[in-house]
Amino acid sequence: MDLSAATPATGIWRRLEGGGLWLAVFAFLLLAAMLAGICMGRLSIAPAAVLDIIMTQWWPGGSHDWTKLQESIVVLVRAPRIVIAALSGIGMAMAGAALQGLFRNPLVSPDILGITAGAAFGGALAILLGGSGMVLIGLAFALGIAALVLVGLLSRVDGRSDTMTVVLAGIVVGAMFTAFVSLVQFVADPDSTLPAIVGWLMGSFAATTWTRVAIATPPILIGILGLLMLRFRVNILSLGEDEAQSFGISVQRERWIIFLLSTLIAGGVVSVAGIVGWVGLVIPHAARLLVGPDHRILIPAAGLLGGAYLVMIDTVARNATAAEIPLGVLTAAIGAPVFAILLRRVYVSGIRA
């Protein structure tokens, strides 16, 4: 259905045009961040050589003015990292934007449904049991889904669940899985598995390989595409239950589809990178301040901005010092002040107007 028919066309279209411009700006930002990211690293490789290496992957030829080691670094180390950082950023920000609309609550992010905590427990458990790679990703993902199912069961009363019960159930399930994570840390071996669990929980793309990208991409991509396709529906759902019902859509079903898509994204991200906080909360706000609340523009805008943001953060994490800086530290340390400035500006201008 076409929402624009239901609202005064002029306002929406003006916004869409403005939004389109922002989309182009954010897309450019994402591309620029990815290009800059792949050219930068602890091993210095001339940007020209980097671009040449990338081109050669598809069109053999070129000057071949590089070593095999440099090629491995660009193709096997930097490229998968940037791809997964971009995908994670896009996914988390889009999921955050959709959930904030759905709950009509600006403090919602994928964390609130208990998904992140569930996936974190799965990953921590895998490390405790000595698993890595597929086992870690599989368990993180499975428990992320399990958390969502639990939230669904808990919040379902008489065949339906309202947003408030879902949020409460999410907080309960999240607290439960957070306690399980602490329990795992409690019994973990302090000399071996504990540092590994703590490091993983802080979030890092340091161990990214193409195999991991291949495992994490399908769920994240399905989530992203699904949310893009449903972004009209988020507009309607964000009107509130009764009004949405009056548009003739099944609120319950639509809502759970969006939860499931968000879980796919969050589970995929957590399983490869640990907990990457803040992106799902802050980026949707930043995007909303710039493009407005129309989810048809907001969801893709938040996605592009989130991707650019996370790629930039990861580039800093990789380059700033010899030791990797945990992503979770950077996303919060850079995200919080930026968020504060944005909020101040909006409120100050709102008060003065």
Binding site: V77, S132, D189, P190, A196, A206, T321, A323, E324
Partner: protein, 366 residues
């Protein structure tokens, strides 16, 4: 300085020298730990509890048996059972470990009541976060000495503390002299080494999920320097941290050492990695896993000189030619009163796995 204080110092010094006579004596003794605290003992400690992991094996070494080790950290027990001490002293498996409050992951927070119930003469505790871990013990009236990790000077102070408190300064002096002699011997063999001849060494104590390296101030960094190498991760902020594969490639180490802590870690972690297999170290087959004897060879312990010799020989096979196997046999006899079999020595040196490395044949049984 008050008269009392100087008298105390004189007394403790006297005790250290008196102990050199060898036999355990029943006179009271005073020892000073690395935090400068004085610990008074009525007689040499006979019931000792050790929390900082590597030092439990030092108590076993000083005594030549496990009788005086009343309890230890669960991780220390694991290391002993994994290593050769569990085989040398089957009684190891009966030593209790439930002395940590709040589970192993809480590190060194003591379960004061469990410790008190074991009636220790002396508790050796990690002194890094004193108020959390040492004070609860001293408040309960339990005699406690603190140990702090660091480079060789601290390692010697820690050993001196344990040896003196146990009244085994004879063993202590032998172990300290061995450290001096080995340091000197390595120094002589490496005399005139130019900076260009020092291989770049990368040591990772963990590789999963990420590589963990140690920087300035670590014991391993000190050992690499002693053995005539350059620690690539010296500049690491905060002592240690996660390093990316790209950073390892940027360092391009000549030798890669894998720590003994990570269960199941093999040198194939490097050889099978599509990127790391292209580093100088991997191409020259100079990737080795650090041995585990009565103690792990990379953190400071009574067996450190074996670790130094092993490392110097790995880094400079053309200059250094210790008889490591002979040294193991000789020193294990002196330290633990035990005779390791050739198969046990092979296991200590990770011989089946490390033999894929360059020049590792020098450690095989002749």
């Amino acid at each position: 300085m008050t008269f009392q204080a100087s008298a105390r110092i004189a007394l403790s010094a006297a005790c250290i020298f008196a102990g050199a006579a060898g036999a355990a004596h029943a006179d009271p003794l005073t020892v000073t730990d690395v935090t400068g605290r004085e610990i008074k003992l009525e007689k040499p400690a006979e019931r000792i509890i050790v929390l900082p992991v590597p030092w439990a094996s030092t108590v076993v070494a000083m005594d030549g048996g496990t009788d005086k080790l009343v309890a230890m950290h669960p991780e220390a027990k694991l290391a002993m059972e994994e290593g050769i001490l569990g085989t040398f002293f089957p009684g190891t498996k009966n030593i209790p470990t439930d002395i940590i409050a709040g589970g192993e992951s809480r590190g060194f927070i003591p379960n004061v009541e469990a410790i008190a119930a074991l009636r220790p003469d002396l508790v050796i505790q990690w002194g890094g976060r004193k108020d959390d871990v040492v004070t609860p013990l001293t408040n309960a009236g339990i005699t406690t000495a603190a140990i702090v990790y660091g480079k060789e000077d601290l390692a010697r102070k820690n050993m001196t503390l344990i040896g003196t408190a146990m009244g085994r300064t004879d063993k202590l002096d032998m172990l300290l002299k061995w450290r001096d002699d080995t340091t000197k011997a390595i120094g002589e063999k490496l005399a005139g080494l130019t900076p260009a001849e020092k291989p770049k060494v990368a040591y990772f104590f963990y590789t999963t999920p990420d590589f963990q390296a140690e920087g300035e101030g670590s014991y391993m960094g000190w050992e690499i320097d002693l053995a005539g190498g350059t620690n690539v991760s010296t500049g690491l902020d905060g002592g240690w941290g996660t390093v990316s594969i790209e950073q390892i490639v940027a360092w391009d180490p000549d030798v890669i050492l894998l720590g003994s802590f990570e269960p199941g870690l093999s040198v194939n972690r490097i050889y099978d990695d599509p990127v790391l297999s292209q580093t100088k170290a991997a191409k020259a087959k100079r990737v080795y896993k650090v041995p585990v004897g009565g103690a792990r060879w990379e953190p400071a312990s009574q067996e450190s000189p074996l670790g130094w010799m092993w490392l110097a020989q790995i880094l400079h096979p053309d200059r250094v030619d210790f008889d490591i196997r002979g040294q193991i046999v000789e020193m294990y006899q002196k330290i633990y009163g035990q005779q390791p079999t050739p198969a046990q020595i092979d296991a200590i040196l990770h011989l089946p796995m490390n033999s894929s490395g360059a020049n590792y044949g020098q450690f095989a049984a002749k």
